[in-house]
């Protein structure tokens, strides 16, 4: 792992120049693409009508993913910090959700989910800025030919993904980040890391226009059912880079920094789990057997990871802890995210068992060996779990292992499975996410640090961000 991090850091250095080009990408695409995306509503000729069951399921799924962030993730994170920083974490998650929600309808959805002309491999266009043309009469295709849901619904479902991804990152540098710097980072990172990756992984023409130019990683055949790459690797790497650039908390390794309220963390983890059914099963975009498969995998992989972490900790450290079982559950949820609709339930259990133990190593062995202060272990759980899940998806999709296989829209049948080819595709996804997010995050953190400073003063940090930054405290007992 040392080598991975070392090479990562090397890439950041090399990437600085390349990123300047990447940052210019979005504006360049604007005009070129406006016309193309207009034609992208692929099933206009068939004029299918959305099924009310599908529509309802997707509305519920969308709300479930909202629940993951507010209050799920906020409580999960909040309980893990010291009492003096509780409100700062809650405020950060709340504020990020709100900011990203607005940016998503302003330009995020368009850049992620429209065709992008010459740059279509990496980013979409601006034709649907401010939801231009996305009204109640417009539908988008799901993963089945001729099955549609309202585009506004798809747009909002995806909004919740963008919001939670950015919110996840705050765990990496919690208890010391300057609130204003965090907001600036969130806006820029959303624009330059989340949107391109979402486009690269998820953008395609749809079942009726599968041959249309798709995003870079979609075209590579990288499978990511519900966002292991886009959400978890992406956020995990950003958090790691953030923790490295910002530096350790004052007193790290010396002062007691025990979580202040594990009850809150347990509630948050449970809400994350419940919400994750919408995240994973909702990513199927329609209420059918595959959605149910994703739902089953979301329960069994998670349960397996939770007990795997618990028993591993019990064996190695002597006691089974609540934080352990809750962290294991989140690790399992992360790992099964890309595999949710591809793996069979037994494969998902194996994935869960492995991910629980591996992420325990991620937050203990790896973290201590590399000596970074990722406050809430975003990298150890979301980064490591996301990478593991993305690679495992390539193995578990194999029909011989109970997976669904990869559906080929050209032949209307499940394509023949090829382990090497699929793993190669998955590694493209993992590698691209690591490098892209790593480089973008590094440049953004460095730039923001230079312009406005990333960190609160040592005095404010010791006082706690609740009173120092927000002027209130969580508990007036």
């Amino acid at each position: 792992m040392n080598r991975i991090v070392a090479s990562l850091l090397l890439l950041f250095g090399l990437g600085c120049a390349g990123l300047a080009a990447a940052e210019n990408m979005a504006p360049a695409t604007v005009e070129a693409v406006a016309a193309v995306a207009e034609a992208a509503a692929p099933v206009a000729t068939l004029a299918p009508v959305p099924d009310k069951g599908d529509t309802t399921w997707m509305m519920i799924s969308t709300l479930l993913v909202v629940l993951m962030t507010l209050p799920g993730l906020a409580l999960f994170y909040g309980g893990l910090v010291r009492a003096k920083n509780m409100l700062s974490v809650l405020t950060q998650v709340f504020a990020i959700f709100c900011v990203i929600a607005i940016l998503w309808v302003a330009y995020g959805y368009s850049l992620a989910f429209t065709a992008g002309g010459d740059l279509n491999s990496y980013i979409g266009g601006l034709s649907k800025m401010f939801l231009s043309g996305v009204d109640t009469s417009v539908n988008v295709e799901t993963f089945s030919k001729g099955v549609v849901i309202p585009e506004m619904l798809f747009m909002m479902f995806q909004l919740t993904f963008a919001a939670i991804t950015v919110a996840l990152i705050v765990g990496g540098f919690a208890e010391r980040i300057k609130f204003s710097a965090l907001l600036v980072f969130s806006v820029l990172w959303f624009t330059f890391s989340y949107l391109p990756l979402a486009h690269m992984v998820w953008f395609w023409g749809g079942p009726s226009a599968f041959a249309d130019p798709a995003g870079f990683l979609f075209a590579k055949g990288a499978l990511d059912f519900a966002g292991g790459t886009v959400v978890h690797i992406n956020a995990g790497i950003a958090a790691l880079v953030g923790a490295l650039v910002i530096g350790k908390r004052v007193g790290y390794g010396k002062d007691a920094m025990a979580p202040h309220n594990l009850t809150s963390t347990m509630i948050g983890a449970s809400l994350l789990w419940v919400g994750w059914f919408g995240f994973n099963a909702g990513s199927n975009l329609e209420a059918n057997g595959t959605a149910v498969l994703a739902m089953v995998n979301t329960v069994v992989a998670t349960a397996a990871a939770a007990v795997s972490w618990m028993f591993a900790e019990w064996l190695l450290k002597g006691k089974p802890s609540l934080l352990g079982i809750a962290s294991g559950a989140v690790a399992g949820l992360v790992a099964v995210t890309p595999a949710a609709g591809f793996a069979g339930p037994m494969g998902a259990i194996v994935l869960g068992l492995v991910s629980g133990a591996v992420c325990l190593w991620g937050v203990t062995g790896l973290k201590h060996a590399l000596k970074y202060d990722d406050t809430l272990d975003v990298f150890g759980i979301h980064g490591i779990g996301g990478i593991l899940g993305a690679i495992a998806t390539g193995i578990l999709v194999n029909p011989a292992l109970g997976g669904t296989g990869v559906f080929d829209y050209a032949t209307n049948a499940v394509a023949e499975y090829n382990l090497t080819a699929q793993l190669t595709s998955q590694l493209w996804g993992v590698g691209t996410a690591i490098v892209w997010s790593g480089v973008v995050s590094f440049v953004l953190f460095k730039a923001i640090d230079a312009v406005m400073g990333l960190r609160v003063s040592e005095e404010e940090e010791r006082e706690g961000l609740d009173t120092a930054t927000h002027g209130e405290r969580a508990y007036n007992l």
């Binding site: 934080l323 062995g365 272990d377």
Partner: protein, 112 residues
């Protein structure tokens, strides 16, 4: 007059209070405190981060009584707070110079 400070295990507080009431003690002051003695602390483990907790939670009782009652107080607290295991706590007995009841201005033993 004597002043007794007792450090006891928190869960023994009710028994100690009852024992003191039974011998005629009319008031006590209770504080939640932390400290260490011969009883070792314990370690807490959060995702592999180990914290050694040296200071264990105890309850501090303060009782002011007439000198002739002090032996009974010592006996009552010792008996009620005892589990026989390490960490049961300690008693400190002081001479008490003066007592004032703020409401009335009474002083000395009457104010107890």
């Amino acid at each position: 007059m004597k002043f007794v400070t007792a450090i006891i295990k928190p869960f023994k507080l009710d028994e100690v209070r009852e024992a003191l009431s039974a011998i005629g003690v009319s008031g006590i002051t209770v504080t939640e405190v932390k400290g260490f003695g011969r009883q070792k602390g314990h370690t807490e483990l959060y995702r592999g981060a180990e914290y050694v907790v040296d200071f264990l939670p105890k309850v501090k009782l303060e009782v002011a009584v007439k000198a002739d009652l002090v032996d009974q107080v010592i006996e009552a607290v010792s008996k009620a707070a005892q589990t026989g295991k390490i960490g049961d706590g300690k008693l400190f007995v002081w001479d008490l110079e003066q007592v004032v009841r703020i409401r009335t201005g009474e002083t000395g033993a009457v104010a107890l």
